[in-house]
């Protein structure tokens, strides 16, 4: 078994298992904490809990105008990063082929030039995020190891992916085998590291944000406050 076989086989299986089980463990661990129900009567005409939660989830997608001056950069950079990464991960033909091999799922790929732009934007947004974290006094003060580990583990698959990029995706797929098995294995292993880290760090906000916003939305809508 060479490194690529290892990355495509046991390493991938192990990483996916840790990702799925760890994520479920953390989610269940939080959601099974004791509930402290609000027994106060809701304000007359207040939205339902569900409506309050949904409104808060949507409301949180963009900063309020009062905070926009300071939050705008973070919001835009965040969107560039998230959308860029999603496009690269889900839209690049070799990635779709990989997902197809693992899950049987398939969908049409985006053109390579979109991928190159998305990857460049993702890398740029990651570098800006790091710069801001290292220079902004507030972020410097509140940052911890999770921030740096998470940043590194996101950055690695993106740059190692760029490193194995040398041909159009159609050529890569037509060939059917990797011409750079070593770098490709490294690329896959960095993704697996990311999957392994996912349940333990702040990447979990990908799932938690809905619950967190929703809980506050319910609390406030109960009181007649439309967030």
């Amino acid at each position: 078994m060479d490194l690529l076989d290892f990355a495509r086989g046991p390493a991938l299986t192990g990483a996916l298992a840790i990702f799925v089980l760890g994520t479920l463990w953390r989610l269940m661990g939080v959601l099974r904490r004791p509930r402290m129900p609000d027994l106060s009567p809701p304000r007359a005409g207040a939205s339902s809990n569900l409506a309050g939660a949904m409104r808060a989830i949507v409301r949180g997608m963009w900063p309020r105008k009062e905070f926009r001056q300071t939050a705008l950069y973070t919001a835009i950079n965040g969107y560039v990063f998230h959308i860029g990464l999603a496009l690269v991960f889900f839209g690049y033909a070799p990635h779709i082929a990989f997902i197809h091999r693992v899950t049987g799922l398939w969908w049409p790929a985006l053109p390579d030039w979109v991928m190159y732009l998305a990857a460049a934007a993702t890398i740029l947004s990651l570098l800006l995020a790091l710069l801001f974290r290292l220079t902004d006094p507030v972020r410097k003060m509140i940052s911890n190891a999770d921030d740096m580990i998470t940043w590194t583990l996101i950055f690695l698959p993106v740059v190692t992916g760029m490193a194995v990029l040398s041909e159009p995706s159609a050529t890569v797929l037509a060939r059917g085998h990797a011409i750079y098995p070593g770098p490709l294995a490294v690329h896959l292993l960095t993704l697996e590291l990311l999957l392994i880290w996912f349940p333990f760090g702040k990447l979990m906000h990908a799932f938690l944000f809905m619950f967190s916003r929703g809980a506050t939305g319910m609390r406030f809508s109960h009181r007649g406050v439309d967030l």
């Binding site: 959601l31 099974r32 904490r33 309020r64 921030d147 619950f211 809980a215 506050t216 007649g224």
Partner: protein, 434 residues
């Protein structure tokens, strides 16, 4: 987060517990707070720092230490070590160190002096973390550890003994009789049966008796059978602010049990923000079921009386701006009610740059106005409000919370600012028609 070992700048402590006992008491209390919502909020922070820009203490000073989420560091650390899904890993590998006495001493200033639990940061957080609520929960542990500012502890002891920070219940009939004489209004006390139990804020029993008289004037006008009662009269729940849950329960029960005893269907709260938070939204937790009485804030009471035409008010001319009390508006849902009352009064409302849900706190909420050692910081924060009020050019400054009123008065005095804040109740009472 940064955990640099700084010496505590200033802290007070009460009692003679050992440091170990204080830490254990605090951590036990913290752990008891970690229900599902708190846990979700502990788990979700991505440390974006956007809460800092919403916090008046950070905005006024530029000091990163006032970043709201950082005020929760000992609380967060305890969550991770003791209650999070990976707590055993955190402890086994020493990934998060245990909170120690120096942490608690250092964080006292951040939890009590530089947070008014106004919740503006909650609205700025992209994860929707209700930081104000978390600070309140963290204060419960600080109180158990005997680590609250001395001035608040003194008020706490007074309230435990008297049921009020203002006066013992025994003295209430005499105080009310004096207020009634001074303002020429009847104030019933200790009636055996009434439809409405009326409560007060401490200042209304001392320096601001006009507010009490104003409420009495309106209540007498509508002909409701009401009373104040020495068994439960002070609604501004100091336990709620200090983190003293036992006192919060005792003061809450005094109001609700008294109302039930006299057959009242309604408890009328004074113009006090934290009274509203403690009674309207938290009282039921002590009973384990919905309360048998309705809790209503003075602002919504006035709104309902005007809406139902039980009272009419004369129009007053001129412009006004409105300071939104955080617990009543942002965390209480009465933004529109206050504005309807002002519309009935005919004032030309010029809104502050930040108003309604995102209005800035006056700087005195959460007990900060009573915490004397926080005065210099509070004064810096007050400047934000002063500048926004001045920018409106409005003739009047109105608010609907006695604590805000006091903070604005103190702030104006210190800043040599010639703006007098007026209460909404006072304006309605002074302009009753017919």
């Amino acid at each position: 987060m940064s955990t640099t070992a700084q010496l505590p700048s200033s802290f007070d402590q009460q009692g003679d517990q050992s440091d170990e006992a204080r830490v254990e008491a605090a951590l036990r209390s913290f752990v008891s707070e970690f229900g599902v919502t708190t846990a979700l909020h502990m788990e979700s922070c991505v440390r974006c720092g956007l809460c800092a820009q919403a916090c008046h203490f950070h905005v006024a000073t530029g000091d990163a230490k006032y970043t709201p989420i950082r005020k929760l560091e000992p609380f967060r650390r305890t969550y991770l070590r003791e209650a999070s899904p990976f707590a055993p890993l955190m402890r086994a590998f020493g990934l998060v160190r245990k909170t120690n006495i120096a942490d608690l001493q250092q964080w006292q200033e951040l939890l009590y002096d530089s947070c008014t639990m106004c919740g503006r940061c909650t609205l700025a957080c992209p994860m929707g973390i209700d930081i104000a609520e978390l600070v309140k929960e963290a204060r419960h542990g600080m109180f158990k550890a005997g680590l609250v500012p001395d001035r608040l502890a003194l008020m706490d002891r007074t309230a435990r003994q008297w049921g009020s920070t203002a006066t013992p219940g025994d003295d209430l009939p005499d105080i009310l009789a004096e207020v009634a004489r001074e303002h020429g209004v009847e104030i019933p006390c200790d009636l055996e049966a009434a439809d409405m139990l009326v409560t007060a804020a401490p200042a209304e029993l001392g320096e601001h008796t006009k507010a009490l008289a104003d409420a009495a004037r309106i209540l007498n006008r509508i002909g409701v059978k009401w009373t104040m009662h020495q068994a439960g009269f002070d609604a501004s729940n100091i336990g709620f602010n200090n983190g003293d849950l036992e006192l919060q329960e005792k003061l809450t029960r005094a109001l609700i049990d008294t109302a039930v005893k006299i057959g009242a269907k309604t408890v009328l709260l004074p113009e006090c923000g934290h009274a509203y938070g403690a009674a309207r939204w938290e009282a039921a937790r002590w009973y384990g079921q919905a309360l048998p009485v309705r809790i209503i804030h003075m602002t919504e009471f006035l709104d309902e009386l005007i809406e139902s035409k039980q009272i009419r008010v004369n129009k007053i001319s001129g412009t006004a701006t409105f300071h939104d009390p955080c617990q009543i508006v942002r965390r209480g849902g009465l933004e529109a009610a206050a504005r309807r009352v002002m519309a009935a009064l005919g004032v030309e409302l010029i809104e502050l740059e930040n108003h309604g849900l995102t209005g800035y706190c006056c700087g005195g909420g959460g007990g900060v106005v009573s915490n004397q050692r926080a005065a210099p910081l509070r004064q810096k924060v007050f400047e934000i409000k002063r500048q926004q009020v001045d920018a409106t050019g409005a003739k009047r400054l109105i608010t609907s919370c006695g604590q805000c009123l006091i903070t604005l008065e103190i702030g104006a005095k210190n800043a040599h600012w010639d703006k007098r804040a007026e209460s909404l109740l006072e304006l309605v009472a002074d302009n009753l028609a017919g």
